[in-house]
Structures are given as structure tokens and as C-alpha cells.
Symmetry: C2
Subunit: 241 residues, 2 copies
Amino acid sequence: MIDCTQCPLRKRDLFTPVETEELNFIQTLKRQEVSFEPGANIVEEHKKISHLHTLLSGWAFRYKTLDDGRRQILNFLLPGDLIGLQERISDTALHGVQAMTEVVACRFERNTLWKIFAQQPTLGFDLTWLAAHEESHIDDNLLTVGQRRAKERIATFFVQIYKRADQLDMVINDTLEIPITQYHIADALGLSLVHTNKTLRALYREGALQFDRGRLQLLDIQKISELTDAYHRPVKRRPLL
Amino acid sequence: MIDCTQCPLRKRDLFTPVETEELNFIQTLKRQEVSFEPGANIVEEHKKISHLHTLLSGWAFRYKTLDDGRRQILNFLLPGDLIGLQERISDTALHGVQAMTEVVACRFERNTLWKIFAQQPTLGFDLTWLAAHEESHIDDNLLTVGQRRAKERIATFFVQIYKRADQLDMVINDTLEIPITQYHIADALGLSLVHTNKTLRALYREGALQFDRGRLQLLDIQKISELTDAYHRPVKRRPLL
DNA sequence: CGGCTTGTTGAAGAGTTTCAAGCTTAGTGG
DNA sequence: CCACTAAGCTTGAAACTCTTCAACAAGCCG
């Protein structure tokens, strides 16, 4: 099990530095590392609550489904993202979380939340920060799905994912490998699979971007910027628990 | 200025009881009551952060706009809702908040957040609870806008608003007065104004529900339930700050 | 090899938007 | 008191975006 003081994630600029004392405290909360196969449910919709986790490596997504099977992907989770905070306010999980790749997550002990607030106010603040930050992501997604048309949605979506992944040094040679299918994109953007495919092809034909079997390249920032303002939005440092 | 110990909101079942000590603490944070005219911006999009508020009376909504003016209403705010938590994680407001009626809000002092976490861990937990809870609202909205069709969207929307307002005893004779226009509904649900109107008329013609000049009645729960599962979802008690 | 998942494409159809016009209501000022 | 204005609501028709249906291709795995 990786020691929190040696956490490879924490070394990145993306995350705000943390006091040694707090780091040691986090270490005491970490119970184990758990892994999930691609497609496995880390959190099951409507089931009783599970543990609090931090995603250490791999990709996952949060989603909700309707009775008839329609699925909305709410957002995608990358390393450093917290899983399960929202469930703690409800008896049952209001959404599911599914692993897209092999996922490794740090599992915290059951009463982690309470201990944090009681013993480490700064970390309590960080928790609220993370909750509010994730909400602002969903706000963005709601804006996208509610107001943008298909081309704009896809451009916005890819730019956002690209920037997040870039902060985690996952972009290599201007190429990002994303373990998502067009199915995922469709469900995240409220589009049909067919229309997603056609829009994707159109964007490629125009030379704006390429997404082929999980490899994403933003080819023409100029063209992309005509479709979305997401590219020029600054990114903030964030806490890591 | 209303004393927090006499807060009319807090008397309702909807809100979780709070210890006297915590209540007194909240009282020390409350600086003043501020009011806003209908249409006034409580928080301005992209502007520097403002104070933290709790909505005491009136209706408001959170929104985001695109460069060309398209607007997405993210959610509606009712008495007891916290305003400005999300802004505290960013230099500028990521969304705007606009008053729909005359609004009265409790304004807290500048460093409220920090004091809460440092001095009242239980309230710190409540803050995170509220942040996570609002996110779950937005999750619901994203599901609605992304996956449901117009009739379902409107049915879901009205049921959710109705239930929230009902908890605040705002429903009288099975009728709820909502200060919203079809414009608001359209922007909240990602529909055009015209289509919103036509869908609304269709729902009325079918006898499902009536929304006429701000008066909402859910006429046929059976019919509404065929359009949305929102009606049968339980409601949870929540903290009030 | 066959079966399964993912991606691709054309055509038809439905849902939704846009355009355009008129209506009602409430408020304002002469 | 009535003309005028502005905001919100209503409706029909045309146009368009997006969905659904259907079929097939490509890649992967046991």
C-alpha cells in the first residue's frame, strides 16, 4: 500500500500543498487500496452507502439512470477525485460510479468525515471545497447539455477533459488516450449514439479535432474556440485528500 | 433584524434541529439582513466574490450564460438555501444569482467559513452536507435536461419545485404560487420558449397539471407519474445555517 | 472461426426550434 | 378614463437538428 507521504499524485502542481501534520492524519484514515475491473461498479445506484474513496489511478464516471434504461453520465472522474462524498448525505447512493479502466482507489475508514471535521478543520474546509468544485463541474455540464448544440457540446466536452488530463500529465505528444467510447460521450452529452458519431466525424472532416479509438487530438484550436469558450478558462489548484 | 434563535424558518420540520450553542454561534456570524428587488443580481456572474448568504424569504435562481446570450438556469433557490458557498472556491463567481421576487437574505461576516470549520465542526459538516445536497439537485437537473423529453422535463420540474415548496408550507389549497415565467422554465429545461408553451398547453389539455400566471396545480398524479418518477421520491431533512 | 463490442453510414421520421404574428394583462401618463 | 407601452402568453407554419431504424464494417477474444 502506498504511503500517503509518498503519494505520486500529490507531487503534481495541480494539488495544493499540505502540512505534514495533516498528511500524517490522512495517512491514519487510509485503510486499504482497492481495485476495480473495467466496468465494475464502485458505487451502486440506489444501494446502501459505501466507503469514501479517493481515485488513485484509472478513469471512472458518475451516472444516473431512468427506469427505462436511459442513462445520463454526470461527470468523469480522474485521479485525485473524491468518490462517495455525496452518498454520505443520503441513505442510499443517488448515483452510480463505474470504473472505465482498471481502477485503484484509496479507501478511508468509515467515520472519516466526522474525524476530519472534528480534528482537522483545514481538511474539513478542503472537503467542502471539493464538493463545491465538483458542483461547478456539473454546472458546466448542465450549461453544455442545456444550451449548446451537438458540435459545441462535443468540442466543449473534449476541451474540458483534455485540460483536466493535461494537469495530470496524461497528455503525451499533444495526444490524450481516453478510455471512453462514443457511447459514453453520447450519454454524457444527452445525444444519441448515431448523432454523436456523425458530429464527431464532421468535426474531424473540418480538421477541428480527432478522436479515434480513444486517442484525442485537438487539431485546430482556432476552430475549436469558435465552438466553445472552454479552452481559455483558467484552471485552479485543488486540495487532495 | 430577526434573531437566529427566533428564526421563523427553523421552526419547520424540514430543517434538522440544532444545539443552542451552535445556534448562538450562528447568531454571532450574522451581520445584517439585506434585501433585493425582483430582477436584482445577488451574485454577479464573473464578478469578484461576495458575502455568504442564507435566503430568508423570496425566490431566486442560479444561472450561467454563454457569450451570445444563451442562458442556462441551474437551479432555483428557496428560503433556507445557502448562497455563495461555491463562489468561495474561486476568485470570481462562476455563476450568477438573481432574485425573482423581493428577497431578504441573512448576510454573514466575511470569514464565516473559516470560523465555522475552526470552531464548530458540526456546522462544518453541515456546510459540506449542503454543498453535496445542492450538487445532487444539479445532478437531477442534468438527468432531466440530458435524457427526458419536453413533457417529462416539465412534469419533473414542476413536481420537484412543488415538493420543495410544500415542505416550506408554501402550497395552499393544493395550489402553489411560483413567481416564474415560461421564460424561466425554458431556460431551466433547455427548451425554446415556444416549445415550452406548447408543451405546457398540452399537459393542461390532457389534464395532467395546470400552470397559469404563476399558479401551479398538479391535477392528475397518475398521469404525472407516467411522465416522471419524481413524485414518489422521499425528501430528507436538511441543515439550516 | 464465430460472437461481441464498437464504429460507420444512409434514409426516414419525430421532436424541437425559429419565424412571424397576434393576443392579454398590467402599468403609465396624458 | 383611455391611449399607449411593455412583458408575458399563444398559435400556426416552415425549417432544422437530432433520433430512430436498419444494415454493415472493423477489431478483439475465446
